[in-house]
């Protein structure tokens, strides 16, 4: 079994390609440092979700390499999965399990020691405001509560790399704040977060670096200031993003659907 090596790079992607009916990801290179909060932006159909699903081991790439904290995710997926958590925009939880049972299940899948898992689960349920509902079945939960249960599941095994695909979609302001606080707390504790979002304000406030992807390629990357410098404007991230994406559209002719 390959032991995760010490690495400053949390995620290193090189030449990643994936096609369905048409190319979705076209030779993508991406590097995210350990302990970084990285936001991946792009228009609908740009290839963000496809990229992250390949990193999480949910889709096999056609070509390229993925390294997570030095572990080759394509060669040793089980070892890579040990240190990664994936949260999608559509919370996939079990209607007939309670949040407590769900977290016990996830901890069991990741082989977390029982007492440690329980302590973490109780903390997470508390932080996310789920403690009063810990023993209710998830079937009756709102979208926001379901998303928080899924997030708690992702964090219960203390992953070093947390990948989130539009985690704030459909959340009310209070729930979104709770989720953001938990993510920032994780980054402060040393975890790496990669998040896609269409809420540019969230990326602007939370991410240390921002990557912009269009038509399956990374078209710009850097801190907010670096992106401003590149765009030659002092505008908001929204202005910069729209400039970059329209430029990419003009170059490629179209953006993958």
């Amino acid at each position: 079994m390959t032991k995760p090596r010490r690495s400053d790079s949390a995620l290193s992607i090189a030449g990643l390609r994936k096609s369905f009916d048409k190319p979705a990801v076209c030779g993508l290179d991406l590097n995210v440092s350990a302990g970084e909060f990285y936001a991946l932006l792009g228009p609908n159909g740009a290839g963000k979700t496809t990229t992250l699903r390949m990193v999480a081991g949910l889709l096999p790439p056609d070509a390229g390499s993925i390294s997570i904290f030095g572990v080759d995710a394509l060669f040793d997926p089980v070892e890579a999965k040990r240190i990664v958590a994936w949260v999608s925009d559509e919370p996939m939880i079990y209607d007939k399990l309670s949040p407590f049972e769900y977290l016990e299940f996830v901890a069991g899948l990741w082989g977390v020691e029982t007492q440690t898992a329980q302590d973490r689960a109780e903390d997470l349920l508390d932080w996310l405001g789920l403690a009063p509902h810990a023993h209710e079945r998830c079937g009756g939960f709102s979208k926001g509560m379901r998303q928080k249960v899924a997030l708690a599941g992702a964090l219960v095994h203390e992953p070093r790399l947390i990948i989130l695909d539009e985690p704030l979609t459909g959340l009310d302001a209070g729930s979104a704040r709770q989720v953001k606080n938990v993510l920032l707390e994780r980054v402060a504790a040393g975890a790496t977060v990669i998040m896609t979002t269409h809420i540019l304000e969230v990326a602007e406030r939370m991410a240390r670096r921002i990557g912009v992807i269009a038509a399956g390629r990374l078209i710009a990357e850097g801190t907010l200031q670096e992106l401003r410098d590149r765009a030659g404007s002092d505008g908001s991230l929204e202005d910069i993003f729209l400039d970059l994406v329209s430029g990419a559209d003009a170059e490629t002719g179209t953006v993958a659907a």
């Binding site: 994936w86 079990y94 007939k96 399990l97």
Partner: protein, 508 residues
């Protein structure tokens, strides 16, 4: 035409139904439409051929006492009616819980009673389809041989369906009143299962008690029964006469059936909106769990996954009702076993194959739920374990569940006849194993809630699963009586398994 008239709603519903149905059959491939039409054509012609030989080969009805005919026809009609009530109770309940476009319609200025009327009529029409597929060829052949009056039987079938839907509507509304929207769906499913199997099973139990066999015909043709029932001229036989195409009886029966449905719709249509809205946001799964574990328990990854599957299976109300139905059908052989305790091997011919058949069907359903019906596939796929290990844990959960359900009757069988029990366990394991293997080979990711349409993901796998269960059941029956011909169904079952393995979709 007003945009919210009854005909407008009817057209909307027919349009949706037709598109759903064709999408289910065609699934994006035009050649499937032709294949489906061909298959339907062959089925219809085949059924007419069977009906022709049955009708022309049957004894002359004029030679038989009319009362005996009426008893027989009424018995068959009641079995059909119980199945129709069972089917329509599920559909009627679903109409209250369906959310697809109901929120849109209920928030529109259109009167909700109109959509309710259309949806209830649609339930009546769909629940007649299965009976019509089986009965229509006989009606057509009788109309050809005896005269067109037999075609009136179609009206009788429709009236029966209308009656069944009205009864279901009354039951569903009563359940809402008694148990509330949280529990109605689960309880309705269980009641539907009991009604569906109940009448046929009761007749079989009566046949065992009084006539020593499992044939429902024994009850319907027994002189003891005819003595206590009214004579042929009584009003009680109007439904039977209607089924036999007597125009006056058809008229009376149709008036009763459609009248009952109209009354039920009129009585409950005003409550439809409030009942449907009461189900919105209600989940039978919400609320406190009965047992609230306060500590995590240590389990290996495989045990964790297996335990999750078993917990989800135990908390599935639809599965519970289906398993209950399987168990109800097992009641008959169990009762026969008890009656023949210590007697000859004859009873085993009935008992052994039923258990084997039930195990195959149960394993197939459970395998679909655990292997295909994974509600959090991303979570399981991103867990640090090999896909094969996860699959193995799920298969183990299926086999454990089958064993748990069937072990009481197997234990009972072992006490009566150890050899028969061994035969049953061997064939049961083969039948359940084959059904599970087929689901594994043809697995396609789906939501657990799509269980009802599991056959749509692979018709080949569903057909092969049923055929394999029948073969293993036949093999078990023949082995139980010591007949070497058992090798034939066993070879057939293995051949089907081999064929299915050969044509299984390859993983990419």
């Amino acid at each position: 035409m007003s945009t919210a008239s009854l005909t407008w709603f009817a057209r909307h519903e027919i349009n949706l139904f037709w598109r759903d149905w064709t999408a289910l059959i065609v699934r994006g491939k035009a050649h499937r439409k032709i294949a489906a039409c061909l298959a339907l054509g062959i089925f219809v012609i085949g059924m007419h051929v069977v009906a022709w030989f049955t009708v022309t080969g049957a004894v002359d009805l004029a030679q038989i006492d009319p009362q005996a005919i009426y008893i027989f026809v009424t018995g068959c009609g009641l079995v059909s009616l119980s199945l129709m009530v069972s089917q329509s109770l599920e559909s009627v309940t679903r109409a209250f819980y369906a959310r697809a476009d109901l929120d849109l319609i209920l928030t529109s200025p259109a009167p909700s009673n109109r959509i309710f009327t259309i949806r209830i009529c649609a339930v009546a029409l769909t629940s007649v389809v299965m009976s019509a597929l089986l009965v229509a060829p006989f009606l057509n052949v009788m109309a050809w041989v005896e005269g067109p009056a037999w075609l009136l039987g179609y009206f009788t079938l429709l009236s029966m369906s209308a009656m069944a839907t009205a009864i279901s509507l009354v039951i569903a509304v009563a359940l809402f009143k008694l148990f509330g929207p949280k529990r109605t769906r689960s309880i309705a499913q269980i009641i539907a299962a009991i009604i569906g199997a109940g009448f046929a099973i009761t007749m079989q139990l009566v046949a065992i008690v009084y006539f020593g066999n499992v044939s429902r015909l024994s009850v319907l043709t027994a002189p003891e029964i005819s003595r206590v029932l009214p004579d042929a001229s009584a009003m009680a036989w109007i439904p039977a006469r209607a089924l036999l195409g007597d125009p006056a009886a058809v008229f009376v029966f149709s008036m009763a059936g459609f009248g009952l449905l109209a009354l039920a719709i009129r009585a409950f249509s005003t409550r439809f909106a409030s009942l449907a809205l009461s189900t919105s946001g209600v989940s039978e799964q919400s609320g406190k769990t009965r047992r609230q574990p306060s500590t995590f328990r240590f389990r290996t990854t495989r045990q964790t996954l297996r335990n999750k599957e078993l917990v989800l299976l135990a908390r599935d109300p639809w599965l519970l009702s289906q398993t209950l139905m399987q168990m109800l059908y097992l009641l008959v052989p169990a009762f026969l076993l008890w009656r023949n305790f210590g007697a000859d091997i004859g009873a085993m011919v009935v008992v052994v194959p039923v258990i084997v058949m039930a195990s195959g069907q149960l394993a197939g359903g459970l395998a679909w739920l655990t292997i295909c019906g994974e509600d959090a596939p991303d979570l399981v796929q991103t867990a640090p374990m090999k896909p094969r290990a996860g699959l193995r844990a799920k298969i183990e959960a299926v086999l454990i569940a089958v064993c748990l359900v069937l072990s009481p009757i197997l234990l009972f069988l072992a006490l009566v006849d150890l050899r028969a029990a061994l035969v049953t366990i061997t064939c049961l394991a083969l039948s359940a194993g084959a059904a599970t293997a087929m689901q594994v080979w043809f697995r396609a990711q789906a939501k657990r809630s799509h269980f009802r349409h599991r056959h749509a993901s692979s018709k080949i796998a569903t057909f092969a699963e049923a055929f394999s269960s029948i073969c293993w059941a036949g093999c078990a029956a023949l082995v139980a009586v010591g007949n070497w011909l058992a090798i034939i169904p066993a070879m057939l079952a293995l051949a089907v398994l081999g064929l299915i393995w050969t044509i299984r979709p390859r993983e990419t």
